[in-house]
């Protein structure tokens, strides 16, 4: 145990108040610092913070640090409010991730429904997708690709680290539902043939 001189007791007091999960009274501080003159030390500590960005205050007989009131508004900070992505957005994002570069008609072909402009806008605004090169076919449609931020958010070092179809199958994410086997005459080849892109 160090902390004998008045300076050290002041440091100790400062550290205890800083780390405390709740405001502390003088009595408890006296016990924990071993300083009989804790009242004087508290005043000294408060003075040493005067005019700084942080101040030591006493409320209801208990002491705590807090940020200087005039700075409260200035330290306002953006708080992330969790929002869930719609299923349409998730699917569109997944298709872009797996099929990039991919055009919007291709995305719609894979999803089987029209993609609202808002979905891509939203993904772009979040910063997970961006437009890529134009496809060199008639009409030169824009393609869509994922961004660095996408990799970062989903914890992927690289696009190659995106789990492949084999991995998905292993996890059980490709388990097919029971098939509508009753359609008469629809037997034979379970051909899909609709691999869009």
């Amino acid at each position: 145990m160090s902390a004998d001189g008045p300076v050290d007791r002041l440091r100790l007091l400062e550290a205890i108040l800083f780390a405390a999960p709740e405001p502390l009274g003088a009595d408890e501080l006296r016990v924990r610092t071993g300083a009989d003159d804790v009242g004087r030390l508290l005043v000294e500590l408060r003075e040493s913070y005067a005019g700084r960005g942080v101040e030591l205050v006493e409320t209801g007989g208990k002491w705590r640090f807090r940020t200087a009131p005039d700075l409260v508004e200035a330290i306002a900070r953006p708080i992330d409010v969790a929002r869930k992505l719609s299923r349409a957005a998730l699917e569109t994002l997944a298709i872009i991730a797996y099929h990039q570069p991919v055009t919007r008609p291709e995305i719609e072909g894979i999803r089987g429904v029209a993609t609202s402009r808002g979905t891509l806008d939203q993904l772009m605004e979040i910063g997970w997708v961006r437009t890529g090169k134009r496809r060199e076919v008639p009409g030169r449609p824009l393609t869509w690709v994922t961004t660095e931020a996408f990799l970062h958010h989903f914890g992927l070092p690289d696009l190659r680290d995106l789990p492949g179809l084999e991995d998905l199958r292993a996890i059980g994410m490709l388990d097919a539902r029971p098939v509508l086997a009753a359609i008469p005459g629809a037997g034979g080849e379970g051909e899909s043939g609709d691999d869009a892109p």
Partner: protein, 266 residues
């Protein structure tokens, strides 16, 4: 597996004396761990360790262990055999013709293995000796949450993304089970067939007589009937056929349109 309060506590030497009754092999994580502990017993720089002496100690230890309890994990015995072999090669230099690694090289590799593990243990100990957050040093106990400007944080995990893609794939596989078109009798097909047939049929015939023989049951059969009916309507429109039906649900009669009615045929 050691779970002592200080995980880097040295193994007690008394556990290692071959003549000691207490042989605590459970305290070691495999033969390399045991070897390293024995090597420390030589009290020299690991870089100058005598591998011969170490081999002797290990073999003595294993011999003692086997005297007391016969069960000894296989990897300890493999290491014993390997050390015995290394020892024989070190003691009796053999001609160059012998295949395999030179004994000096083998000894050196083992010494490196021990040094490297020792270095990592020392590194771990130095890491643990640092002032650690939440144990030695403390962050602010009452962080203040400043007034917030709300910002949407899109909550989507890799799991969400993968399930969405998985669901999509499943959905598409489901779509694929719709009856493929080649199993239906297309209208084009029926028209082509009718065009061929009507030339041979000047008199009235029932629609059924135009259907292919061996009409299939089910969807295909129904599609043949429907397509052929549509085909007759189409050919009638073209002026090639006449259609007649006595009453609802009665047979449908068709025949080739009689010539001399003038209208050219496209």
């Amino acid at each position: 597996m050691t779970t002592a309060a200080d995980p880097f506590e040295q193994h007690e030497i008394r556990h290692l004396r071959p003549d000691q009754l207490v042989l605590d092999l459970d305290g070691f994580e495999g033969p390399i761990d045991l070897l390293l502990t024995l090597a420390r017993d030589q009290k020299v720089d690991l870089a100058k360790i005598s591998i011969l002496e170490l081999a002797d100690q290990y073999l003595a230890f294993v011999a003692a262990a086997r005297r007391i309890r016969l069960e000894l994990a296989a990897d300890y015995l493999v290491m014993a055999a390997w050390l015995a072999y290394l020892k024989s090669r070190l003691l009796v230099p053999e001609p160059e013709t012998v295949a395999g690694d030179a004994p000096a090289e083998m000894a050196q590799a083992l010494a490196f293995q021990l040094q490297r593990l020792e270095a990592m243990r020392a590194a771990a100990a130095r890491l643990l000796a640092r002032p650690r957050l939440g144990r030695d040093v403390f962050a602010r106990g009452m962080p203040e949450l400043p007034p917030s400007l709300e910002r949407p944080a899109w909550e989507a995990t890799l799991h969400d993304l993968l399930s969405a893609y998985g669901a999509l794939k499943r959905r598409r596989e489901g779509v694929a089970y719709a009856p493929p078109s080649w199993q239906l009798w297309s209208v084009e097909h029926a028209i082509a067939r009718l065009r061929e047939l009507i030339g041979d049929l000047p008199a009235w015939g029932t629609l059924a007589s135009f259907l292919p023989p061996g009409l299939a049951d089910g969807l295909l059969g129904r599609s043949i009937v429907a397509s052929t009916l549509v085909a007759t309507l189409e050919l009638a429109k073209e002026g090639r056929l006449e259609i007649r039906q006595e009453a609802p649900f009665q047979p449908v009669w068709v025949r080739r349109r009689q010539s001399g009615d003038g209208e050219g045929v496209a």
